[in-house]
């Protein structure tokens, strides 16, 4: 065998190839190892996260590669009144969720049921609950008649997962299932909703809360009670069963987690509990100032993050939850009782008011009722003292409507419905089941003043006169003040 120079020359490509493999091979192999932030246990998911200044949050989390958080161990689970927490599977350390956008039949309160759209048969959709550092894979199936997408409101993630149909992804066609995958690096309060034809699809109820907890093994450092409430508004004409999403001013049903008072499920806390309430607002057009009775709280977080220095927070009794934002309030439940909390826009605590009627407050209809009853049996003049006439039972009403239906409590009607609920704080309860109405300790209730009291304190009360003609401009106020309980 002759080894000529010519034969060596033929070997060069082979040698070159071997050198290349030796030079770069190990690196290529390393690309498939656990240390690579773009894969997890060999499953390529997210694209490579290049080094950047400032560093991207998810990239940091990816380098930490936290295992899935567990309720109880890592965090106190959030409570969604009238709702549920989303189910998930853990597949190779990734929390896998399945959301289905579909038509939903929703009962807003007994007597009012609507056909609308929601996630997994619910409005709002199930609360997605995670621990900081969790990696999630969310499958979204579209069973709506329209295209859709899901936007993760407030979540810091790669743009391709942002869920804006047309801008960051093609729309999810009816029948298709898309996959979203990203990491939640930090604790926070977020929301999810479509970003295709938002006016219609958000308006129809495709909404949901996301609660991401800090991993905190020390229970005493966690809140004792953590609630998630999604605020929403609807225009549902009494007698219809379909929300009118084109409405932009006259909304007549305002819900907390898809329900109105009296169907809102009370929040329960033990005396001394540290309570968090997370409010999200995906109403179309209205902000909601949520007022809590009995407490001054601080707003410790939003959908953007947490207050850095909680000692400098301004105490409030009303938190304004703007459209498209979430607020987290914190207080210590040191005041026992049944505490109302509600949107303080007074129209938002009325169910399905009509606006086509004349102003009846202060009108003296004596004698006219009888005349009208001859023509219309069962007729009754209403509204002369405000809305308390609607608390009268037994009047036939249009089907599928709850005109000004209100909460009925142990002392009677409050004439309050809509975006309202009750926080029950009890001493010595062993479970967080609804404990029923508060048993007011004797002497702590406001009741009619006794004659002895009046005399002792020198309070003179003459019999109230009937509003005379010259007091016509005050008659409205008489209607609302006065001795009515």
């Amino acid at each position: 065998m002759k080894r000529t120079a010519a034969s060596y020359r033929r070997l060069w490509p082979v040698i070159l190839a071997v050198l290349v493999v030796l030079a770069f091979g190990p690196q290529a192999v390393r690309a498939g190892s656990e240390a690579d932030p773009t894969t997890y246990r060999g499953h390529p998911t997210l694209g490579p996260a290049p080094e950047a200044d400032p560093p991207r949050p998810w990239a940091e989390a990816a380098r930490e590669a936290l295992p899935p958080g567990e309720p109880g161990r890592d965090y106190t689970p959030v409570v969604t009144p009238n709702g549920v927490t989303a189910d998930y599977k853990i597949v190779d350390g990734v929390k896998v969720f399945h959301l289905t956008a579909e038509p939903v039949h929703l009962q807003i309160a007994p007597g009012l049921e609507i056909d609308t759209w929601g996630y997994n048969g619910r409005v709002p959709g199930p609360t997605i609950e995670l621990a900081a550092g969790d990696r999630v894979r969310i499958y979204v199936t579209n069973r709506l008649p329209a295209r859709t997408s899901v936007h993760w409101h407030g979540v810091l993630l790669p743009c391709g997962m942002d869920g804006v149909s047309g801008l960051t992804q093609p729309a999810i066609e009816p029948g298709q299932t898309f996959k979203y995958e990203f990491i939640f690096p930090h604790a926070g309060t977020f929301m999810y909703h479509p970003h295709f034809d938002s006016m219609t699809q958000e308006g129809m109820g495709l909404t949901g809360m996301i609660a991401v907890h800090e991993r905190q093994p020390d229970e005493s450092k966690r809140p004792d009670r953590d609630f998630a409430i999604m605020l929403h508004e609807w225009a549902i004409e009494g007698g219809t069963s379909r929300p009118f999403t084109v409405e932009n001013n006259d909304f007549n049903i305002l819900t907390m987690n898809g329900k109105v008072m009296p169907a809102t499920e009370p929040l329960v806390a033990k005396l001394g509990d540290r309570v968090w309430i997370r409010f999200g607002n995906l109403s179309a057009m209205d902000h909601h100032p949520i007022h809590l009775h009995g407490y001054a709280f601080t707003t410790i977080g939003t959908d953007g993050g947490w207050a850095q220095d909680r000692s400098k927070l301004l105490p409030e009794t009303t938190v304004l939850v703007q459209v498209g934002s979430a607020k987290v309030i914190e207080f210590k439940a040191d005041n026992p009782g049944d505490w109302l909390f509600h949107c303080h826009m007074t129209h938002h605590t009325m169910n399905q008011m009509g606006h086509d009627l004349p102003n009846m407050v202060g009108v003296d209809a004596e004698g006219v009722d009888e005349e009208i009853r001859k023509l219309l049996p069962g007729y009754m003049t209403m509204g002369t003292t405000g809305m308390q006439d609607m608390t009268r039972m037994g009047m036939p009403l249009p089907e599928n409507s709850i005109p000004m239906l209100g909460g009925k409590f142990q002392f009677g009607q409050t004439v309050l419905g809509g975006m309202a609920n009750v926080l029950r704080v009890r001493e010595g309860i062993t479970s967080y089941e609804d404990p029923g109405p508060y048993d007011f300790p004797p002497g702590t209730l406001s009741l009619e003043a006794s004659p002895e009291d009046l005399e002792r304190d020198g309070i003179e009360v003459e019999a109230l006169p009937r509003p005379a003609a010259d007091e016509a401009e005050h008659s409205g106020m008489h209607g609302m003040g006065g001795t009515d309980q």
Binding site: G354, D356, P358, N359, G362, T381, P396, A472, E473
Partner: protein, 474 residues
């Protein structure tokens, strides 16, 4: 002399027997009319001639007027009490007398002449002349008079049917007006209640002066509507008073009940053209007119078929007849006037009368089709109102009331919905009235008379077309 006396007696005897036994009594004729009316309408008629039976009939009428009056009772009252109708019956006496007259020879004429003769003598010329030609004309005259009597009987029957039909229609109108007035009064109550409520709202400072004025306007307009309806009620009542021949305290009658609903099953409306032609008094009167004119002009009506006759006669059931002109009587010596002019005139006149007759038949057929259609259409509308429109309006009112209870809308909208419901009920009353009027019109047509226009009708005093054909007076 004996010969002339014998001749005289012979003439007298001839005169006596030549006339036939015609009586001036109208009893038989009246019975014919009564049975014709009964057969066409099922009603019995009474000719007030001051007898005991007549006085009893008048008292029965007073009895009817005391209680609530129904449509049938109103007709009964009219048949007894309407003086024009009673007057029409007297035409029978007139025609009967004419018949008798036609059969009588002209009275002999007594002539006397006194002549003065030159040679101291006087002479008398006395003579009795008898128009012998008359005798030969009697059969023709009798034929004419008989035809005219038949025509008069038909005319009287027609007058009865006309009156009954007018009374029924007037009654429906009066009943409907009364019900409409009740609706208008209720509508006024609703408008008043609405206005009162507006006044209370204004007193409380809750509505504007403009809104109050608008409510008041609705109320005042409703008062005007009530007054208009009251006027209609009065007018319809007065029409009935006139038809029933009532005045004074007898006008205090009241109507029993409401307009009856559309009946089930509907009256038989099959084959109306044929039945209308068969029963048509107008056609029968026209036929008698033709007969009288033919007899008068010495025209014999022969029996041949002509296409023109098919229009009226095949339904008529009579033998189709045409006429031919021929010499009827040849007594006048046709020396200069051979009758050609007369026969030409007769032909022309008969053709004219025949055209009128045919057109009358066309009219009757068209009226039959129209009356049938109107009845069925009116029935459909009334039923539609009863079964669709009124229940829908009630449903709308109920839904409005429910929304009022829910405070989705206010009392003014509720009362407005009530007003619309009352308006629908008023329209239903109109449709029901239209149905019953259409029904009277069809029934009258099948009894033999056409009701003209909107059923304002022809009174007994209005001459039917047949009369005009009877040429001149009788």
């Amino acid at each position: 002399m004996t010969g002339s006396r014998t001749a005289f007696v012979a003439v007298c005897l001839l005169a006596l027997f030549g006339t036939g036994c015609a009586s001036v009594s109208t009893e038989a004729t009246w019975e014919d009319v009564q049975s014709d009316v009964a057969q066409r309408t099922g009603r019995s008629v009474q000719w007030n001639q001051g007898t005991e039976a007549d006085r009893a009939a008048v008292e029965a009428v007073n009895g009817l007027l005391q209680g609530g009056l129904t449509a049938e009772e109103a007709v009964q009252v009219a048949l007894v009490n309407n003086r024009t109708l009673q007057g029409t019956y007297e035409n029978l006496g007139v025609a009967q007398a004419d018949l008798v007259q036609a059969g009588l020879l002209r009275n002999p004429v007594f002539e006397g002449a006194f002549r003065f003769v030159r040679d101291n003598g006087q002479a008398y010329d006395l003579g009795v002349t008898q128009d012998f030609l008359d005798v030969l004309l009697i059969p023709m005259r009798k034929k004419v008079a008989r035809a005219r009597l038949e025509g008069t009987k038909l005319r009287v029957t027609a007058a009865v049917i006309d009156l009954a039909s007018e009374v029924r229609i007037a009654f429906v109108r009066a009943q409907a007006a009364q019900q409409a007035l009740a609706m208008r009064r209720t509508a006024m109550d609703a408008a008043r209640a609405s206005h009162q409520m507006a006044q209370r709202l204004r007193a409380a400072g809750n509505i504007t002066a403009l809104e109050l004025s608008l409510q008041r306007e609705l109320y005042e307009t409703s008062k005007l509507n009530v007054q208009a309806e009251e006027t209609t009620v009065l007018e319809t009542r007065e029409r009935l008073n006139m038809l029933l021949g009532l005045w004074g305290e007898h006008t205090e009658w009241r109507i029993e009940g409401a307009l009856p609903p559309v009946p089930t099953p509907e009256m038989n409306a099959d084959d109306v053209e044929r039945k209308a032609i068969a029963n048509s008094l107008d056609l029968a009167m026209a036929w008698e007119g033709l007969r009288a004119a033919a007899a008068e002009m010495g025209v014999r009506m022969a029996e041949t078929v002509s296409p023109e006759l098919a229009v009226g006669l095949e339904a008529e059931g009579e033998d189709p007849g045409t006429w031919e002109v021929g010499p009827a009587l040849a007594l006048p010596i046709p020396l200069f006037d051979q009758g050609r002019a007369a026969s030409a005139r007769a032909k022309a006149r008969m053709r004219g009368l025949w055209n009128d007759y045919t057109q009358q038949a066309v009219h009757v057929r068209s009226a039959a089709r129209t009356a049938r259609y109107r009845l069925l259409a009116a029935r459909q509308r009334a039923i539609y109102y009863r079964d669709v429109v009124l229940p829908l309006r009630r449903r709308i009112l109920r839904q409005t009331h429910l929304r009022y209870n829910a405070m989705f809308l206010g009392v003014f909208q509720l009362l407005q919905a009530k007003q619309l419901e009352l308006a629908a009920r008023r329209r239903y009353i109109d449709e029901l009235a239209n149905y019953w009027i259409a029904r009277v019109e069809l029934e009258t047509l099948l009894q033999g008379r056409m009701v003209e226009g909107d059923g304002a009708g022809m009174g007994p005093e209005t001459a039917p077309t047949g009369m005009e054909m009877m040429g001149g007076g009788h």
